[in-house]
Amino acid sequence: MTDHGSLSVKIRQARHLMQRRLILRVGLYWVPSMFMVFAAARVLGTTPMLSACIGLAVFGTCWAIHLVLNRPTLSELDFLLYLNRTSPDLEESAQLMASTSAEDLLLHRLQREKIKPRLLHHLESRDLWLPALANTHRMLALSLALTIAAAATFVGPISFDFSPASDPRELAVAQSENNKLPTLLAVQVDVTPPAYTGLSTTSGQSLNIEALENSEIRITASFSDSEAKYELLPSGGAAMAFVAQEGNDFVVTLQAERTMLFQFAVRDNDQSQTLDSIYTLSVTRDKKPAIRILDPKSTTLEFSKTAEPVFQLRSQIQDDFGIAETQILASVAKGTGEAVKFRDEVFSFEKKNVGPEGDEYIKNWDLRTLGMEPGDELYFAVVATDNRTPEANTSKSATVIIRWLDEAENELAADGIVTDFVPEYFKSQRQIIIETEQLIADGPVLNKTTFKETSYGLGQAQSDLKQRYGQYLGDEFGEGPGEQLSSVSEPTAEHGNDHDDHEGREERPDVGHDHGETTRLGQSREGASELVAKFGHAHEEADIGPIAKRDPKTLMKKAVNEMWQAELHLMLAEPEKALPFEYEALKFLKLAKQADRIYVKRLGFEPPPVSEEKRLTGELKDIQSRSDIIREEIAPTEDQVLIQKGFIFLNENNEFTDEARAILEELSAYFVKSAEERPAFIAHAAAIEKILLSKSLTPADCRDCKSKVQAALWGLLSAPVSAPQPRRSFYFERDPVIESWVQP
């Protein structure tokens, strides 16, 4: 190749290089746009890959458009002219290389030969003529775009809130501007219990307040509109105005007198408009002191004529906040028959031991110091007053009878005792069951402490009842006259619920396994056989009889055993587990009552047979009317009717109608009224108010309100009673096939 040829090649190569460089510069100009588009796509929520593709596509499109519109074309002549600009050594003659040698003038040829080596040298030094790919500005823009894109990748999609303000306060203001009602911005609730409780003030932000009776509640709230007047609207009470404080705060103070619902409202002239939410105030009452007589264990204590008439009274008294005063109210009965005289006295305890489960008060008695003699009786009861103000609670224990016997009086016969005293205790066991069921139903809405305390209290009551029955059956804690009954050994069928042989059956009395009287009075067993008789199944005994021959004492012992289990679970705050045992205990108590009286003599009157001659010959003059209307039984209470109506409606409807509103308002009033006795009901009233406010049976902020109210109503329904009904069949009697088949 000639020199000129090689130079032409080099010029051509350099020109192409130059063109490429110019195109790249265009591309690089658009690279930041790619990164910005990528960042924008990421922020809008697309995945990184998709964002990259979008960015590349936009970049490529822009680059292509730019090239199409402004294609950096470069002819050889333009390139050579450009080279002239880049080097003075070329003496503005580089363009001479574009022409062929045959046409040139001598001067041109000479000049061309002169600058040829310079041009070659210049072409080899690309830095001198090749434009830079990116200048400083371009690099800065590229760096910035790259940084933004990287940040967008790490941050990820951003959700845009196009509301005018993102600050909750501003948002509340914006909302209130839309709704034209102020909104609650912040709140503080200070609850100061009564001074006598010794409890300190508690503060919180929840407007569903739990407070002790007579506590002072101070609510400090700030609203979006600090110029308006606000008030607190309690259910069933007069409105209480908020007092404006410095800043945006408003304060109202109220006494916790009753469980109720309340709302905030804004007062505009004479009109009051409620703000959105419903809140509850649950008031816990100060309970009366609980008195347990630990000693003497039985309610009747007897001293024989020659015994030393001294005993110790130990009483455990506990209260939720403190005992103010204790007294022993005593009456001494002297004499017998018509000559009996009573003398009332008031005593105090001598000593007090502080314990974790209550204080123990002790007094030692000597009947002789009271001026008593054999034949006299002392009755006393412990009275305790707590420190509640303004009106204290007072409790009185059961009366204990102390008898100083005169002669060898017969001790109370065991037979007949069971049926004699039983009726008054049935109510107590039933009451325990009722209260346990109430506790279980209220469990979800009570706090843990209250739940445990209530359960413990029921456990105490169960324990007391168990002791009362037990004392007549000669239990280990009984020293009373019933001890002579304890020679009957323990029933051997008490295997509880874990007996493998009885699995799959319901927990019922073991009819065929009544081994209660495996040892009779007068019989003796020795060693191993005694153990077997006590703990094993002694099937050879002949005492297994039909249900009519159950021993009432055995049934009572079974009842006491069930009470042990019930008490255990109540003390452990497990009322659900205690309830079946309570029912079993009640069942055994009833069976014991019936065991001796299977032939029900008291029910109905069996007249002697009437002779046919005398029959239907009586006078009719006293019959005022021979037609009558059958009276209904005691009709269901209004509350029951409402509960049934409410449940049926909620169960079958999902829409909020006028009928729904009417029923729900009635139900709300019912729950608010009932909350006085059962504070847990206030939660149901609040749920109903939320439904009424939102005008939807499933409000957005309380999706399960309807189901909770339904569950509460179901729990309040009375036991089902069936009604007379026709015989069920899936055919008509007049069907010829049926008629022909049943002809007698």
Binding site: G504, R508, P546, I547, A548, K587, K590, L591, Q594, I598, Y599, V600, L603, G604, P609, L616, T617, G618, L620, I623, S625, R626, S627, D628, I629, I630, R631, E632, E633, Q644, I648, N651, E652, N654, Q710, A711, A712, W714, L717, S718, A719, P720, V721, S722, A723, P724, Q725, P726, R727, S729, F730, Y731, F732, E733, R734, D735, V737, I738, V742, P744
Partner: protein, 616 residues
């Protein structure tokens, strides 16, 4: 291989084709000297003739391999063996298995799968209703699943009950294979408030039976939960119950003298919706008549003309029965034959009468006075929810019955009342006394349960048009074809079905059942889960009866559903007889595509024509 035209024609056609090809070659040689074109002409001619001959003769092959499809009935992974056959997912699968499109219904299988000869089932199989839609000659291949469905199976409960009625849900719990044989499971029935009301402990495979009573009408949902010793929930399902109020029962109470039993009975029956008329004899031919509404004044001899047929059940004591005249007894007899129920409370007068004058109505029963000291019992009857802790006295008699069935039993003495059918009606005699003792003891529930049971067993069946409840073991699902039937008493009726939540209503005219003119049905395929209310309407649109039914989701009662399918499929497969199965079809198919052959011929012809023109 077969041909559309006999092969002999090919023998005749071949020489013709060869001659034509040679002639074309010669003509091409004349046109051009280009050897390539010569070869091209020959090749194109051969190809054209081949295409033409193949089109005409259409060789076909036969294939007798059976057409098999696989249907996946449970959400199992697709096994490899099935992949060579067409595979479909059952319509009830919540998500179609990959590679196995979901069938819209089982009945569509023959159409979609081109009438398969063999169906290969994977999973627990098809339901009984699905088997009825398929040809019984279809061959079934079924890989019986190793593991039985785990959960509550064979469950049943009455779908419609009355308020206060005792209803029972029964079933079996199948535990997983990993469970120990001695492990105990607890099955608990909870009410709508979530409270446990009944519980039973069973072992794996054990049956359970839990009862409850509902105090309110409407669609009520209970929950059945199974837990193990650690209280881990193993299964939880919903029991959907439609509770209705019973139709008014008309009761006539005849007593020979005013008494407590009748007073309590009247008060209860009247308070709970019955229409009761009580006649108490106060003198010869004179009565005090008490009614739910103001009754007509009592008059002498009124019982003579009394219309027993106006009542559903007559309750009387033995003396009142003995005092009936022959005319009255005949009227009573006729009424019982026509459906009336008679309940007689036995007393000494009846005992004496049975001994002296055997009665037509009371044939087969003899009450003999006995000296038994123990004459108090705790009665037992099937719908009793809780054990009675009050013992009731009985008449001191020994009963000898023939042709009577026990109505109410007792633990100690056997039956204390008996019943028998007489024509369309029933007669019951009871020597249990003073049932009002339950009321006095505060056991109102037991008292009402006892008398409701008596009325339901002895009283007349209602003649009113009514809906027939769904079967106890039916658990309606989406897409099921549910029969809604009613007893319509020869009148035109329709049933309106409304979805409680979505308020979608559909009214269908009932068509008489081919087996009975009184029973008419329509069919409904639910498209939504949840409660539906159905009402039986007469031609005027008045509602004659209504109840609710619940449509379960495909995931509800999964174990029971699988068990039902397994049982139905076992029966179906077990009943297969090889000689009755569809023979495998012979499939013939062409070896070559006629379209391609046609195109080849046309292309070759065009090329030949083009060559000819180029040459010219």
């Amino acid at each position: 291989m077969t041909f559309a035209i006999p092969i002999t024609w090919l023998i005749l056609a071949l020489p013709f084709c060869v001659a034509t090809v040679l002639a074309s070659y010669k003509a091409a040689c004349k046109r051009t000297t280009n050897k390539k074109r010569h070869l091209a002409v020959v090749g194109l001619n051969i190809a054209a003739y081949a295409a033409l001959l193949l089109l005409l003769f259409d060789p076909q092959t036969t294939d007798s391999e059976p057409l098999k499809v696989t249907v996946i009935t449970d959400q199992d992974a697709l096994p490899d063996e099935a992949q060579k056959f067409e595979t479909y997912s059952a319509p009830w699968l919540s998500k179609a298995v990959e590679g196995a499109p979901r069938l819209p219904s089982i009945s569509a299988l023959p159409h979609i799968a081109n009438s398969p000869d063999t169906v290969h089932l994977l999973g627990y199989g098809l339901r009984e209703a699905d088997w009825q839609k398929l040809d019984s000659r279809l061959k079934i291949e079924w890989d019986t699943p190793r593991d039985a469905p785990t959960g509550i199976i064979d469950v049943r409960w009455p779908k419609v009950v009355y308020v206060g009625d005792t209803w029972t849900v029964t079933g079996t719990f199948e535990a997983s294979q990993a469970a120990e044989e001695s492990e105990i499971f607890k099955i608990a029935l909870a009410d709508p408030a979530g409270r446990e009301i009944s519980m039973q402990k069973v072992r794996a495979g054990g049956r359970f039976s839990l009862s409850a009573s509902t105090p309110l009408p409407g669609p009520i949902t209970y929950t059945l939960e199974v837990t193990d010793r650690e209280s881990t929930e193993l299964d939880k399902e919903h029991i959907a119950l439609s509770v209705t109020s019973p139709v008014t029962t008309k009761i006539l109470l005849l007593q020979s003298a005013p008494g407590f039993e009748a007073r309590h009975f009247s008060a209860w029956a009247h308070s709970y919706g019955a229409q009761i008329t009580a006649l108490s004899t106060v003198s010869k031919g004179r009565y005090i008549i008490a009614g739910s509404t103001e009754p007509a004044a009592a008059s002498e001899g009124m019982l003579q003309s009394f219309d027993f047929s106006a009542f559903d059940i007559v309750v009387m004591d033995g003396r009142a029965y003995s005092d009936l005249t022959d005319t009255q007894r005949l009227a009573l007899d006729t009424a019982i034959v026509n459906g009336l129920g008679l309940f007689i409370q036995a007393d000494s007068a009846l005992v004496q009468q049975l001994q002296e004058q055997p009665d037509n109505l009371l044939t087969g029963i003899s009450l003999v006075p006995s000296e038994s000291r123990t004459n108090a019992v705790r009665p037992q009857w099937p719908t009793q929810l809780s054990e009675s802790d009050v013992a009731l006295p009985t008449l001191p008699v020994s009963a000898y019955v023939e042709g009577w069935a026990p109505l109410v039993g007792s633990e100690q003495k056997g039956p204390v009342s008996v019943v028998k059918s007489y024509g369309l009606g029933r007669i019951a005699v009871s020597w249990l006394r003073q049932s009002y003792a339950w009321v006095l003891a505060g056991n109102k529930g037991i008292y009402s349960s006892y008398w409701t049971y008596i009325a339901g067993k002895v009283g007349r069946t209602t003649g009113a048009a009514r809906l027939i409840p769904h079967a106890d073991n039916l658990l309606p699902r989406l897409g099921d074809r549910l029969a809604n039937c009613g007893l319509v008493n020869n009148v035109s009726a329709s049933v309106q079905i409304e979805h409680v939540g979505a308020k979608l209503t559909q009214t269908q005219t009932l068509a008489a059942d081919r087996f009975s003119s009184d029973r008419a049905c329509s069919f409904f395929e639910p498209q939504n889960t949840g409660w539906y209310r159905r009402s039986l309407l007469n031609t005027d649109g008045k509602s004659l009866d209504s109840d609710y039914f619940y449509v379960f989701d495909n995931n509800d009662w999964a174990a029971n559903f699988a068990w039902e399918r397994r049982t139905a499929t076992k029966l179906r497969v077990g009943a297969q007889k090889p000689d009755q199965l569809t023979k495998a079809r012979v499939n013939t198919r062409s070896l070559f595509s006629s379209a391609l052959l046609g195109i080849l011929f046309i292309v070759c012809a065009c090329l030949l024509w083009t060559e000819r023109k180029l040459a010219s």
